[in-house]
């Protein structure tokens, strides 16, 4: 039994793929998403075996989305695209499978055979996975949005997940602190906090050797002893 998730911004596309998969009894479609931001959340929530992923989607492309997922949490990805010469080249280089729209049912059957066989591709770097992120996909109250990185003051984890705090708005993101640390200019200042150096207004040194950052909008961010030295180095404070 294979569980699948469909991420595509075009309704007829999702509809068609769903109809094709419905004809295969051992594939269960767990859900469908109309953009990559919802997709990130659904992947973490539903843990599908395979994701059928469109490439060209609003704001965040399928390729960008994959690069934001921890390798450990990454399901099998099958890219689905109508026409994208460059992307096709990229898949071949990275040995990921892909389907062309309109989807040929026989080609889809071969892909499913291969997925069932359980030959799992080792986690690999997708195109763009080393590029710095310029914005962070977030869920706010009743909406999804992309928060530009220079707007972000700090990021921290709590029970609800990873919180991104900007000067005007904040939201929850599906990206892990690890990915954010690797792919953005945010600096680790605490086990649960990353901070944007550009948003620091002052650093208050505490008696116990730790410190507290006060951001431009007046929020307080803890700095652990472990990370204070590195923090100072980065800011060229002796």
């Amino acid at each position: 039994m294979l569980t699948a998730l469909i991420i595509d911004d075009e309704a007829p596309s999702r509809e068609e793929l769903k109809a094709l998969l419905a004809a295969t009894p051992d594939v269960e479609v767990l859900g469908e998403c109309a953009n990559a931001i919802e997709g990130l959340s659904a992947i973490h929530r539903l843990r599908p075996d395979v994701v059928f992923l469109d490439i060209q989607m609003p704001r965040l492309s399928g390729l960008e989305m994959v690069s934001m997922i921890d390798a450990s949490a990454l399901p099998q990805i099958v890219f689905v695209t109508a026409y994208d010469e460059h992307a096709l080249q990229a898949f071949e280089e990275h040995a990921a499978d892909y389907l062309l729209k309109p989807i040929d049912p026989q080609r889809l059957a071969r892909t499913l055979d291969w997925l069932r066989s359980g030959v799992r591709h080792s986690p690999r770097a997708f195109p763009g996975s080393t590029e710095k992120l310029r914005q962070i996909p977030c869920f706010g109250r009743n909406r999804i949005f992309l928060l530009a990185l220079d707007e972000v003051e700090f990021v921290h984890t709590d029970i609800a997940g990873v919180q991104v705090v900007g000067d005007k708005r904040q939201g929850t993101t599906e990206l892990s602190l690890k990915i954010l640390q690797e792919r953005t200019s945010l600096i680790r200042c605490h086990r649960q906090f990353l901070v944007n150096l550009d948003q620091i207004a002052e650093i208050e040194l505490l008696d116990n050797g730790a410190a507290e950052i006060i951001t431009r909008s007046g929020r307080r961010v803890p700095v652990s002893r472990r990370h204070l030295r590195e923090m100072k180095d980065r800011l060229l404070i002796a």
Binding site: D9, E10, A11, P12, S13, E15, E16, A19, N35, I37, Q56, P58, R59, A82, Y83, L100, K101, P102, I103, I144, F145
Partner: protein, 568 residues
Amino acid sequence: MLEEINHLALIGSLMQQMCVYLVIAYLLSKTPLFAPLMQVTVRLPGKLVCYLVFSGFCVMGTYLGFQIEGAIANTRAIGAVLGGLLGGPIVGLAVGLTGGLHRYSLGGFTDAACAVSTTVEGLIGGGLHLYLLHRHRADRLLSPMIALGTTLCAELMQMLIILLMARPFDQAARLVAHIALPMMLTNAVGAALFMRLILDRRETLEKYSIAFSAKALRIAERSVGVLMQGFDERNCSRMAKVIQEETGVGAVAITDCEKLLGFVGVGAEHHLPGTPIASAHTRHAIDHNEVVYADGATVPYCCSVTKDCKLGSCLVIPLRGEENRVFGTIKLYEPKRKLFSSLNRTLGEGIARLLSNQVLAGRIEEQKRLLAQSEIKLLQAQINPHFLFNALNTLAAVIRRDPEAARQLVQYLSTFFRKSLKRIGNEATLGDEIEHVDAYLHIELARFADRLDVQFAVPNDLLPLRLPAFSLQPIVENAIKYGISQMLDAGTIRISAQRQAGVLTIVVEDSAGLYQPTPGGDGLGMNLVDRRIKIRYGAAYGIAVSCEPDCWTRVAIRLPVEEELAPC
């Protein structure tokens, strides 16, 4: 009585002397040496020529004079005064000094007085030169009457100086009584005539250059743009006809590097366009990139087609294009009985330059047009696959759900491709363009389903207006590709048009507000449409983009349209 006769005789001989003097001046006026004298020059070479010529005349005046009572009656003053008048005080001084020192070297009891007076005469001329320039009356410098008056005064001055300086006084007084009147008269008249000579020469040259410019202008005017349409037989024949009519030469031919393209005039019955170049002169002009002039005398000219040809002389001028490469020739002919006028020879080279530039401009224009056209074609070819496969994918889904809707979609798809594949050099009506865009948007509506809303606000009376085909669709496609399809929520595309004061403005607005001006990238289609409109209608028209981030992006296409006549 005896005195009277002597006076008349002296005037007579001085007049004769002056005639010889003027004949020499006339001959000199035919040489290029005279050119700097015809205008008031301020540059050193001109002044130098002025000095040399008038010093020469000064010395000549002395030599042509004759001995009288131990002195020399002469026309030296003309050189000194005119030198000063035309060359200014320094030249005047130099001429006077030269003439004076030369006179001094010949001796006689008035030698010193003559030397001083000649120098003073030069200075008088120079002083007047300065005065007139100062008063901005430089034109009066060449007036014969001014020359007459000045020389009269200068001679008067000379007589006074002789009286003052020459000794013994009584001999000087007798001499002055004897020569004053004849010398003053002849010198003054001589100076005026000399000046007249200069003026005549100048007028002749002006007439020549006026005739030259008039002809050149008329040829330029009548030939505007003819060769820009292409360097071929039809245009070359038209061009040759214009040149032949305006220059009045016997015949005119235009060739490329292989064959005759146009021939008009005497001998047209056997010089046929399309025939290969036979003349050795033409081949030489092409191979060596130089002007060949076969005047029929020193360089023999013989028609290369038939012995009976009436043409007797020929001027071949190469036409030069990029990097000075020869791409053809223009040939002017005169019949055997007629001489080649120098006017037409000079004009010929100007015409060759005119033609070369026209052909060059035409080629550049053509290249620009081809480039814009091929880029648009490229654009069509580039964008369609994206659209095509997405459309087919949508169609596949719709067929499953609603075959009737799918049939309609196929109709829209075929309308869209039919319009896209139409030759893009052509014009289309706004109605055609809207239909094209409408078919396109229907497919996108199916593709984006609930995410897209489309509004049209185009008044019906604007639909017949004409604009370059394929101007609107790329803009709408951009609005989808970089606008609506990048929105997380639903969006709207609004297309409106209005006409005001002969300008049609079509506005395509999307509700995404994601426009980012990146050169070449997102605006490829838009840039091409803009360029095409600008090439066609001028820089005042084309595309303007405005954007309110996250609210809207507005693309306005502006182009001129002909106001239709008001219904009676």
